[in-house]
Amino acid sequence: MSDVTLASGRLNYPVSPHARRGGLHAVQRRVGILMLAPAAIAFAIVILYPFFQALGLSLFEDTLQSIEPTFIGLANFKAILADPETWNSFGITVIYVGGATIGTLVLGLGWALILNQPFRGRKALRALTIMPWVVPSTVSAFIWAWIFNSRFGVINGIYLELGLIDVPKAWLSTPEGALIAVILTRIWRSIPLFMAFFLAGLQNVDQEQIDAARVDGAGNWAILRDHLLPHLRPVLIVVVVLGVIGGLQDFDTIYALTGGGPVSATSVLSISVYRKAFEQWDIGMASAMGVLWVATLLPPAYFYLRLLIKKGN
């Protein structure tokens, strides 16, 4: 019995009601596993099983024409890698995720630094900032579609007033305009979360260190470069990793705003996979493309896990 108490470390009470049968340790282990079980089962059914199922489907021909899925090895991958549309989708994904992450990083950090200064109305401004992040994705698409509207959009209105254009422009009908619009919408939606992370990171900056640096003659820029940014480095990494994962996963806003178009100008991987699966019903090809999509998610996911493990130790 003394073994049990020793093994469990900090639980140093020798007489436990559980100790008689099987030992305290074993009972506790069982309780722990029991508590985990429901979530683990749900996880296996709705996430794990579909995931491996989709990996498997990428090796089959499974279209509307095929009666039964037939095993065709890597043929789907060959077809997909030979298709210029795939590479187009990859390129757009890189621009979309890269542009959105960098934009959000700069503006989110800037906004956090601003809201970290003491001024009147700061609290209210902080509370209001959460809005773009929590409005439904369809709503954010509506708002930006209306702002970019080809005839009555406010962007056209401002440009006309300023004399920058003579006739209203159909922004969302041009490839560049549509891509800029989806990136701007993504940045708008993600600033609040990035800001929250940076603001939390700024809370535990050592104020005395800053004051000392200031006495030594450091200006605002030097404080930012030599003290705040190095201090925020861990947060910066987390935010970039989460931003990239979120960007790669994003579907709703793009779909509602442009539907992946015009033609396929904003067709990021998520949209391409969806179109292949649920518009063309080519499940095999869609899964193969999905596997490539997973490959893009692996590096940021790896970094994310490493951060969690580091923190755990």
């Binding site: 722990g32 709705v46 996430i47 199922q53 906004w111 773009p132 509506f142 998610l297």
Partner: protein
């Protein structure tokens, strides 16, 4: 943090706050005032930045002519149920990870957290036939179960990082008194964990409430349609673009979740950023 006594510093600060603030809040402002403008004023090439006349006509039409009320009820049922399931699952799993030690704990935990790398769209491809074979396609239970995908990993992590902060002494003391583990959890730990549990509920709720992809694909019948696809199909089709109605409906579906988050924002930010900052 910064010294704003110099003129340049003031200027940089002022310009930045105006520019970023405009980017963040103007779209919201634009949605709100567009929803109150009459059509004549709404459809002008040179728009008005303060509405000349305020009308509730769009709100009236949203509730009388569209199915928005139905979509709201559907979303409420589906989001509420999936958030409840998610929260219950995550509460126990998070506590188990935080306070128990058993073989496989660490790998299972990391595996669950890594679920963010499984693309939602890819999972949908196989969820679709799975739900079909169980007769759950185009049903609310099917959609509710599928929504576990979105929020469970982060919910587990949020509660895990909260529960690790609950002092072991509290639990050990109750154990010494002979209370069972489940009893300790239900009567001692849970009552002091209401804020994080509510936060996780709200987080899960938000994912389902805001979703378009899953409900658009897994629900076909109009009578079960939720707000995401409902709004899209009602207001954004080629022939009929009723922007006043779209903005009014947008405001109606956003208001509940925005208000809830404003109230709980403090807990929420703590929960989401937990662990990332250190």
């Amino acid at each position: 943090m910064f010294d704003l006594s110099s003129r340049t510093a003031k200027l940089v600060f002022g310009v930045s706050i105006l520019l970023i603030g405009f980017y963040l809040f103007f779209p919201i402002y634009w949605m709100v005032i567009s929803s109150f403008k009459a059509n004549g004023e709404l459809y002008q090439v040179l728009p008005t930045f303060f509405p000349r006349d305020v009308t509730l006509a769009h709100y009236w039409s949203v509730f009388t002519e569209s199915q928005l009320g139905l979509y709201l009820v559907n979303s409420l049922i589906v989001s509420g149920a999936s958030a409840a399931i998610n929260t219950v699952l995550a509460v126990y799993a998070g506590y188990s990870f935080a306070k128990y030690r058993y073989p496989g704990r660490q790998p299972i935990m990391l595996f669950m957290l890594s679920a963010q790398m499984f693309p939602f769209g890819l999972l949908l491809i196989s969820l679709y036939p799975v739900l079909t074979s169980f007769g759950l396609l185009d049903t609310r239970p099917g959609l509710i179960l599928s929504y576990i995908v979105f929020a469970l990993p982060v919910a587990v992590y949020m509660l895990y990082s909260y529960f690790t902060q609950v002092p072991d002494e509290l639990i050990d003391a109750a154990r010494a008194d002979g209370a069972s583990d489940l009893r300790i959890f239900h009567t001692i730990v849970l009552p002091i964990s209401i804020p994080p549990v509510v936060t996780v509920f709200l987080y899960s709720f938000m994912w389902s409430w805001n979703d378009l992809l899953y409900s658009m694909t897994l629900i076909v019948s109009e009578d079960k349609r939720t707000i995401g696809p409902g709004l899209l199909l009602t207001y954004l089709n080629e022939t009929n673009a009723d922007w006043g109605g779209a903005m009014a409906a947008s405001l109606v579906v956003s208001a509940p979740i925005v208000i809830a988050f404003m109230f709980l924002q403090r807990y929420f930010i703590q929960g989401v950023t937990a662990g990332a900052v250190k």
